[in-house]
């Protein structure tokens, strides 16, 4: 009995030593994670930058600072992957090189991700509680964007361009040429014009007006309040126009910008969260994206509302 117990311990000891050796050896398998030079850092007030620095910069900048436990393999591998992915999407050390509108759009997206609890990532927050953005810090970020987002008047040239776009559209008539399919193969749902409005949006972050339309399947789902998940066959269309202001407080739809679609088919679009994503821009209806994987960008932006079947819009009750 004593002998078998002793043998059992020896086996465990060997397994333990082997584990330690393998663990130690793996520490030398370290993908490189550099901090490139900070070239065009976002310009923002110190109180805003302090919050971003504390909550975002470890992943979304060239000033990554790893805690000791982040540097232990295998955690290190995950950290390297996350930082590289994060920098590709948003890098505060380089964001300053982008046009002002693009910088602002990225900041709005970032703050919305924080507000919806999607960022910082839950796993990161668990290990870095100091990265949590408090309500008061969120208020600072929101105030900064609210007060720094320009709300420009519309130029005469923009009004003329919108007028011409309208005239050309009327002249072309409803049977204009069918646009090319989106890079993921989705064909343009031309009958969207005759779908029913389920909500609308006044976007002061990017000065657009939007109307959200639903097809019959979507309307039935709304009427029955079965919108999570939406039934297969549901299609939501969001149409965006520029804001055309008359200088007296009225804001009308100006030039058509784009129409984008979420098409529900849980099997066909299983790889993109059960939705087919597509967008066509301008009255020429040029498909958005240059490869099928452009949908990843759509899914990424809708990730914070995955608990709502990836839909941001709350449809107005009472379509039927």
């Amino acid at each position: 009995m004593a002998n078998s117990s002793s043998a059992y311990r020896r086996i465990l000891l060997r397994i333990g030593i082997a584990g330690v050796v393998v663990f130690a050896g793996l520490q030398f398998v370290r993908p490189e994670l550099k901090n490139p030079e900070v070239t065009n850092e976002l310009q923002a007030p110190p109180e805003v930058k302090d919050i971003l620095r504390s909550a975002c910069y470890d992943c979304h900048s060239n000033e990554t600072k790893l805690a000791w436990f982040d540097q232990v393999v295998p955690a290190y591998w995950l950290v390297v992957r996350d930082v590289k992915t994060a920098r590709q999407h948003l890098n505060f050390s380089e964001l300053g090189a982008q046009p002002a509108a693009k910088q602002r759009a990225m900041l709005y997206e970032a703050i919305n991700q924080v507000q919806l609890g999607a960022m910082p990532l839950a796993a990161y927050r668990r290990m870095h509680p100091e990265a949590h953005v408090s309500e008061s810090e969120l208020a600072v970020l929101r105030h900064y964007l609210e007060t720094s987002t320009p709300q420009p008047e519309v130029s005469a040239a923009e009004v003329s361009a919108a007028e011409k776009q309208f005239s050309d559209w009327v002249a072309a008539g409803p049977a204009s040429a069918k646009p090319p399919a989106a890079p993921n193969g989705i064909e343009f749902p031309a009958d969207y014009r005759n779908w029913t409005p389920i909500s609308s949006t006044d976007r002061f972050d990017n000065q657009s007006l939007r109307v959200i339309l639903g097809n019959d399947t979507a309307l039935k789902a709304i009427a029955e309040n079965h919108i999570n998940p939406w039934p297969d066959g549901s299609i939501l269309a969001k149409v965006a126009w520029t804001q055309q202001k008359d200088g007296q407080g009225m804001v009308r739809t100006g030039a058509f910008q784009h129409v984008e679609f979420m098409i529900r088919d849980s099997r066909k679009y299983a790889s993109t969260k059960g939705w087919g994503w597509a967008r066509w821009r301008g009255t020429g209806l040029k498909p958005y994206g240059d490869r099928p994987s452009f949908s990843d960008e759509c899914v990424g932006c809708h990730e914070p509302v995955q608990g709502n079947d990836y839909v941001y819009t709350a449809p107005i009750r009472g379509q039927r």
Binding site: Y108, D205, V211, A314
Partner: protein
């Protein structure tokens, strides 16, 4: 036995660390219809059943509106026809107060309904256009205006003069 106990202890500790960071689902994401903006009361013609002609925002009153129409009205508006809607046209304007979109900072969406206005176009035996105008207000919505309207009616002119939004 001691080893098993230790394993259980370590496992529990790791699980506790991982779970302690879990948070309740964000209420902003909870699935819901926009009940606040729903039309109730005595509106016989649901303005959300029509097709979109256009929409606008009035910053002075923090209100947003969507103008819809029946098939006759929409076909005419999208052909760039101007204010002379043909007989058989029905236009509905739904107006809401604006509220912040809880799911997107940077957006405002329909809040409580302010009014519903309905214009119907007909014609008399001489082919002369006739307009009727109805307005619903309050919560629940009640009809507060119902009148025959002529070309000089300012509100009627405003509603039938709005250009259709481009929907290519």
């Amino acid at each position: 036995m001691r080893l098993r106990n230790r394993f259980a202890t370590v496992f529990t500790a790791v699980a506790a660390v991982l779970l302690s960071g879990c948070t309740a689902p964000n209420p902003l994401i909870a699935t819901h219809l926009n009940e606040t903006a729903a039309f109730g009361g005595g509106v016989k013609l649901n303005p959300l059943q029509g097709k979109v002609i256009t929409s606008w925002v009035d910053r002075r009153t923090a209100a947003m509106s969507t103008l819809t129409g029946n098939e006759t009205a929409v076909r005419y508006a999208r052909a760039g026809g101007g204010p002379a809607y043909p007989a058989g046209s029905t236009l509905s304007l739904a107006t809401w107060g604006q509220v912040e979109d809880g799911r997107w900072f940077g957006a405002r969406i329909p809040g409580a309904p302010r009014s519903v206005e309905i214009v119907t176009v007909s014609q008399d035996a001489n082919g002369q256009r006739l307009y009727s105008y109805q307005k619903y207000e309050g919560a629940p919505l009640k009809r507060v205006v119902s009148r025959e309207a002529g070309p000089a009616d300012e509100r009627l002119q405003f509603l039938i003069s709005q250009r259709a939004s481009v929907l290519p």
